[in-house]
């Protein structure tokens, strides 16, 4: 716990002067939310069968997807950026000379960015609540659990991005791929049921689909998120140790190549 706190404190201290950037970011979120509100109005008037099944509100559907997809994107980007910055500053090597395992250094470096991602998600949900897209009922008590499990299930994606960064000095390809895959498969802007039949099982296997679904269950108050949470926990139990191991292997490869501190 001390290690995680140390990473978080370091990054809070580094970024505390970015109040203006935070305000701009919040305004950007508000504009996105409003845009989708009006887009939802348009789609709902068209009354497609799919939207009718989603409690009748496309806006409520989309805002949950966007909020969760944004959290994932920030998690993945956080891992690759923190690692790259450490390479450039020359701080990766001293950190690897501490007793902290390399995968924890990668995750610790992304912790602050993940916290920001969570804050953004809350801002999205706050605006959505103001616009009547969140059901304020007992289901909301699940929200902290859903977010904690989603965060854990996103770590393997972050560790993959960190591994890529370590070997090739850039992590954007993993970030782009994850973002694009999420928009296509996870039911962010449209329900997975509109995908071709052969793509639907892929969507079902993609963990972010379940994270988005869990969030929708909680904010719509219609169903329990338990099934989605169990799926996510199962995925995390397998993928997190695997990607942590893969990252440690990448560190070893970088040691062999002599590119650990590659700039």
């Amino acid at each position: 716990m001390r290690t995680w706190l140390a990473f978080h404190r370091r990054d809070t201290r580094e970024r505390r002067s970015r109040l203006l950037a935070g305000l701009a970011e919040g305004s950007g979120i508000l504009l996105t939310v409003v845009t989708f509100y009006f887009l939802g109005e348009l789609v709902d008037r068209g009354t497609s069968g799919e939207v009718a099944r989603l409690n009748g509100s496309y806006f409520a559907f989309a805002v949950n997807g966007i909020a969760m997809a944004g959290f994932l994107a920030q998690t993945v980007r956080g891992h690759s950026r923190a690692l790259r910055a450490a390479q450039l500053e020359g701080t990766l090597e001293p950190m690897l000379m501490t007793p902290v395992p390399p995968w924890r250094i990668a995750v610790g470096g992304a912790l602050h960015e993940m916290t920001r991602g969570l804050l953004r998600l809350f801002v999205y949900l706050g605006f959505a609540t103001a616009l009547g897209a969140v059901a304020l009922d007992g289901q909301l008590a699940w929200l902290p659990v859903v977010l904690a499990v989603a965060a854990l299930s996103f770590l393997p994606f972050g560790l993959l991005a960190a591994s890529y960064t370590l070997l090739l000095a850039r992590g954007e390809p993993v970030t782009y791929l994850t973002n694009a895959g999420t928009l296509l498969l996870a039911g962010v802007y449209f329900p997975s049921s509109v995908l071709p039949a052969w793509l639907q099982p892929v969507s079902l296997l993609y963990p972010v689909t379940h994270a988005v679904q869990a969030l929708r269950s909680v904010t719509s108050g219609t169903e329990s998120p338990l099934a989605s949470l169990l799926w996510l926990l199962g995925f995390t139990a397998v993928a997190l140790p695997l990607t942590a191991w893969a990252f440690q292997r990448c560190v070893l490869v970088a040691r062999r190549r002599g590119t650990l501190g590659m700039t």
């Binding site: 001390r2 290690t3 706190l5 140390a6 404190r9 370091r10 201290r13 580094e14 970024r15 500053e89 020359g90 701080t91 090597e93 001293p94 950190m95 690897l96 000379m97 501490t98 007793p99 902290v100 395992p101 070893l252 040691r255 062999r256 190549r257 002599g258 650990l260 501190g261």
Partner: protein, 268 residues
Amino acid sequence: MVQPQVALHAVHRSYAQGPLWRRERRPVLRGVDLSLDPGEALVLRGDNGAGKTTVLRLIAGLVVPDSGSVEVLGRAPHRDGATRARVGWVGGDGQGLFPRLTGRHNLEFFAALHALPGAETARRIAALDEELELGEALDRRAGECSTGMKARLTLARALLHEPTVLLLDEVTRSLDDHHTRAVHRALRRRIEAGATVIASSHRADDAAGLRAPEGTLRDGELISHAVPTAERATGAPTTETRDSETRGSETRGSETRGSETRATEEHG
């Protein structure tokens, strides 16, 4: 028999260079042997590109040898995190600090990674402040510190967890004479306490300041260990280092140490 704290045996290391379609390997080290016991120090000399930094990085476990073996405290450092944690590492160019954090916050961060309690961290930072004269570098953002301040901060970072082996890549390069003497004193204290120190340097006074023999790397081989220039010239310790000279005469020779060093130690 004392186990060497650092042992390199027939170490070869090369680096890939050139574009992917015409990749070739440039050998940097060709069969380096080195063995240092507790309380021994060595100053590595050599031209730019001679392989000094590579030797230090190998011992730090940041690079793996192509062939041969590297052992620190009896273990391969690149495989063993616990061993690496007992090594203090200062890379070149004052790198290794978070530029937007103050010097103190940098030290506190690394202390936390070494699991040092808060009160102990504060005590050690205060002691290092006194020893290395960190002064305002502690409360200034690292990115706004002078190169000399950064060099002392990175050394403080490396000393914070009281390592058994210290690896220093040109740590005194940017320091003025006054701070160089402070750094030499601090390092001699660690050597006297049993730490093994290996420092690469282009400065002629580092070996004398540490009361350590010099090893020269040329064409990928460690060709000699010679006595510090100042000591060789005077046959006696320099004024600045006299107070802690006794330890130097007691230092046992490393396996690869040349006759010149041994002869001098007999003088001492």
